[in-house]
């Protein structure tokens, strides 16, 4: 009798899902040591193949001579390597931080590189400070196309041993530089007052003198998710827009979108003094909800979104969710002029699908993601010729048998490439072939 009661009880408990109390990491760890043969030589120079999380950008202007620039992490340094032949060979890399420091170098939290309109190169990364999840946002610049770099500086004004990490960086059309990151100073403050505080907050800085100085740290939003990368792009007016995972009431972790600088540091004559600090609490434009999957989860999924904005000011977004209605990788649009969510569709619902990327050029929308297919990891591409209304068949553009980084895009001004760092193959730059066929009718 007792036995049956217990069986009944346990059946009930097994069917009760406490889905909120979970987290996502199940083996989403960073790429491990390279297996590329040339990297096994102890005397091998640091390189995008042998290091970790290489991140690439093309120097499209004459000032940058069409060079390919790649930043990567190796031996506690962020290195910059350049290539004149689209990554077939690299010049000897330069260490951007001459003093070694611990840094976050996983797919989700990796160095960033942005090129200025002249010969500026801006690099940011998250330095690992003492304690779990702690870090500082670091920044270094070169004014001579990477021959020399200034000493790195710490961007976050709060220096507590807490999280200031997951930096994202973008230049607007006026040449002003923005850095935004996830910051736990408000959470720490709330905790010291024994108050509840969900998630972390987003802080940002602006520089209008090519990174020589920055306006004071400004808060953009409370209650961001703690460890998902921030997506960043410029709109059709060249203004910086960010998309991030936000913690909504009851631990719903969907996404919010917003212009980064609502207080407009640049339209007024504010200086680095108290008068500019005063106006910082005024949010001219509230963040808007960009995705609505009602994903309730305690803890951070470590799986941030991607963003690409077209000429009509439609933000194209790709993200991961485990919401009530939708599970897996999603694609969606947000109309920045109308302030509303547009088309939404599923990219891939299989459990092995991860790390979706989106890129839009005129009417062509590209999606790219990783999918584990039993034995190997495939890199998939899907495209739309009509702004995301209809999609062509998926293409597998690369496959690997061992560990791999998040994939990324690389635009050379005329052609699109995928970049993918894998343990077996090193850093690959994969040309995306021009769209086959004519745009489909809806």
């Amino acid at each position: 009798m007792n036995k049956y009661v217990l069986i009944l009880l346990s059946t009930i408990l097994l069917s009760t899902e406490s889905s909120a109390a979970m987290n996502m990491k199940g083996g989403h760890s960073a790429v491990q040591a390279s297996l590329v043969p040339s990297c096994q030589d102890a005397k091998a120079l640091p390189s995008p193949h042998c290091g970790r999380v290489p991140t690439a950008v093309y120097g499209q202007t004459a000032k940058h001579n069409g060079l390919l620039y790649v930043v990567f992490s190796q031996n506690s340094h962020i290195y910059l390597a350049t290539s004149i032949d689209q990554g077939v060979t690299y010049n000897a890399p330069i260490a951007i931080n001459r003093t070694p420091e611990l840094m976050y170098d996983d797919g989700e939290n990796r160095p960033k590189i942005v090129l200025g309109n002249n010969q500026e190169i801006y690099v940011s990364w998250s330095h690992k400070t003492k304690g779990r999840y702690s870090g500082d946002v670091r920044f270094a610049r070169s004014l001579d196309a990477g021959l020399t770099f200034d000493e790195p500086v710490t961007i976050n004004s709060d220096r507590a041993l807490i999280s200031h990490r997951f930096d994202a960086m973008k230049l607007d059309d006026q040449g002003h530089l923005y850095i935004v990151w996830i910051d736990k100073r408000d959470k720490a403050k709330a905790e010291s007052l024994e108050q509840a505080y969900d998630g972390a907050s987003l802080y940002y800085v602006v520089s209008k003198d090519s990174g020589a100085s920055f306006f004071p740290n400004s808060k953009r939003v409370d209650n961001s998710c703690e460890c998902c990368r921030i997506a960043i792009d410029t709109d059709n007016q060249g203004k910086v827009v960010t998309l991030w995972r936000q913690v909504y009431p009851s631990n719903i972790r969907d996404h919010a979108i917003a212009y980064l600088d609502p207080i407009s540091h640049l339209s007024t004559n504010t200086n680095l003094n108290a008068s500019s600090v005063k106006s910082q609490s005024v949010l001219e434009r509230k963040p808007m909800r960009a995705t609505n999957n009602q994903w309730q989860i305690e803890g951070c999924p470590h799986h941030g979104p991607d963003l690409s904005i077209d000429g009509e000011n439609i933000a194209h977004m790709a993200w991961f969710t485990q919401g009530e209605a939708d599970k897996g990788l999603m694609y969606g649009q947000f109309d920045l002029s109308q302030n509303k969510i547009g088309l939404t569709s599923t990219i891939d619902q299989s459990a092995g699908a991860s790390r979706p990327q989106v890129y839009v050029h005129e009417k062509t929308v590209y999606l790219m993601w990783k999918r584990f297919e039993g034995e190997s990891m495939a890199l998939l591409l899907r495209r739309s010729n009509d702004g995301g209304k209809t999609w062509l068949a998926d293409e597998t553009i690369a496959v690997t048998l061992n560990g791999s980084d998040h994939p990324d895009w690389l635009w050379d001004g005329a052609k699109l490439f995928a970049t993918w760092h894998t343990q077996d193959e090193g850093f690959q730059i994969i040309p995306i072939q021009p769209v086959p066929g004519t745009p489909k009718v809806k």
Partner: protein, 180 residues
């Protein structure tokens, strides 16, 4: 006034606790302690080995990570029922990188779970291990698999409460004693 004093005392206490925990974190892990913990590498063939070693026996396999706050809470629940845990009825698998071994061992020691069957993901392609365990698992943590004696299993996403664990343990202890 008195409220301020209480707050002041609380702050002092908090500071003491905080500095103590910092000390724990910063202190190098004693080598002997490390060696006494058996943290087995979980490879593509490990699940077969785990089930083979438990033929005809019910058990729970739990996947967790040090980067997952609900997982750490769940380990406390395991600690609370520690007296009923054996090397057979519970398997803990950390999905962290082997680089994190020292931190994982420290967490297991802190929760007095160092003597049970502990594993750590060990594959250059962690997705391979996820797939081997369950092709339909998206990687959410904590994740538990309740194996019956015939190894029919049920998956559970999210933190297990102490009551849930106790009920499972009671049920399976009862079954064992009935069978004997």
């Amino acid at each position: 006034m008195s409220l301020n004093i209480i707050r002041w005392i609380t702050n002092i206490l908090l500071l003491v606790v905080l500095s103590f925990s910092t000390f724990i974190y910063a202190s190098p892990v004693v080598k002997n302690t490390i060696q006494s913990i058996d943290l087995k590498p979980f490879s593509a063939s490990s699940l077969a080995q785990i089930t083979e070693n438990r033929a005809g026996q019910a058990f729970i396999m739990v996947l967790w990570s040090i980067d997952c706050p609900p997982c750490l809470k769940e380990l406390e629940h395991f600690q609370a029922v520690k007296a009923q845990l054996t090397k057979t009825n519970i398997v803990l698998v950390s999905t962290d990188n082997p680089d994190d071994s020292a931190s994982i061992q420290q967490v297991l020691i802190d929760n007095q779970l160092q003597t049970i069957d502990n594993w750590i993901f060990s594959d250059s392609l962690p997705e391979r291990l996820r797939y081997k365990i369950d092709p339909n698992w998206y990687g959410e943590l904590p994740r538990a698999y309740f194996y019956e004696a015939d190894h029919q299993r049920k998956a559970h996403s999210g933190m297990l409460t102490q009551a849930q664990l106790q009920q499972w343990l009671q049920k399976h202890t009862t079954l064992v004693s009935l069978n004997q």
